[in-house]
Symmetry: C4
Subunit: 130 residues, 4 copies
């Protein structure tokens, strides 16, 4: 598995972001609307990750910080971010993710505002290669 | 955050485009069918953006112009474009997006023609790197 | 718009393909299940495109041929391919798309087997850059 | 079709993975929730593929092994993996896919926990080019 050690990038961008107002509480928390950045660290050392969130009409928020341990994945829900401030609901945003070791980032949303689920997922944009 | 300054490309393509005829008005405008290009500008200066829209059987439309201010994101709805002409409904199209500074582009559609939402999102194709 | 002339690749792959059996005819043909390759040609000359379709347990089918005129987009439905043979339903397949001029390819599916639409879209994989 | 011989990469990553608990059996197995890696081998020789699955709080699982014959596609369902161990349900995971010849990988999920289907698909992240 030596080649997997070189998978990834140190800088990623997700231009699309939106947390719906979830006015109908779901019995099952797995079916609550959420948006996530799925982070994969295949390296042998921990990845220290910084997120900066951009908006339409105010200065960026952050940095938000997270650690993805060596050989682990972290599915980070934007709904859960609180430090330095929560991500506002019903507001367009975009995210830049920077890491001290190469990681892979995929973006996912589950929208359960209506009775049927809507899902989206896409690989984030890699700014440079490791 | 120095590395985020190099995130992006000056030329992007979205080969898929389609605005459904929205025959059932929704009470909530956030649930109306729409298609958007999410633009992220992490640079320290404004991005002047030009969109050209390609069709199956006529000359391209445009240029459409937009500005993404420094350190901001703009979620541009194709439904809202009107100058030099609106984007026709129920018609296949494709889009090329050019910018004078590197930006990141993601393509999103919300289809609410039926009672259940359908969502799609994908990073656009970057023609060259900054 | 000089830079858009260099957008694209001459070789693309879509590893995912599946045409559902559409047992419930829809009143509106726009809501029939379908799978499409959206092709964008920003060049000043026509693109002559060849599709080869790969399967799990038989030799590839094709070549299928299409032309995307200069400065046009073509949203090609796999359901409509018939020469040299139709694409089988309820069968996994994958597609390689080759062109004599650089194009951009995006893959879309609309699944209407159930009352709610499901949509997916993703940029295809570019084998080489123009 | 000489150019298609160079399509692909030997190392791919899918940062997002999740197999829902499928508590409502479906009459039609094609509509059961599933997650797949669609693998395309356009080469003239077989591809020997290794999958490693990463988790949040335990060591990676694998290697899982598969063969994609020459000029064939394989749509591998994560639900069906059993050796060395099944993929746990209701658990976030990520996948690295390595191959001895260049292949193309696309990631797909069909979520049928509710009456309406939700679909997602995205090209995986290519670590290096062939």
């Amino acid at each position: 598995m030596t080649s997997s050690h070189s998978v990834g990038s140190r800088c990623w961008a997700i231009a699309e972001g939106y947390l719906p107002l979830d006015d109908v509480p779901k019995d099952d928390p797995r079916l609550m609307s959420h948006e996530a950045a799925c982070l994969l660290n295949t390296q042998e050392r921990d990845a220290h990750v910084t997120l900066t969130i951009y908006f339409k009409d105010r200065e960026p928020a952050g940095p938000y910080r997270a650690v993805v341990p060596a050989r682990r994945t972290l599915h980070l829900r934007f709904n859960d971010l609180s430090d330095p401030e929560p991500v506002p609901r019903d507001t367009d945003y975009a995210t830049v993710i920077e890491s001290d070791v190469p990681i892979v980032v995929q973006h996912t949303r589950l929208d359960s505002r209506q009775s049927a689920l809507a899902l989206l997922s896409t690989v984030a944009y890699a700014g440079e290669r490791a």
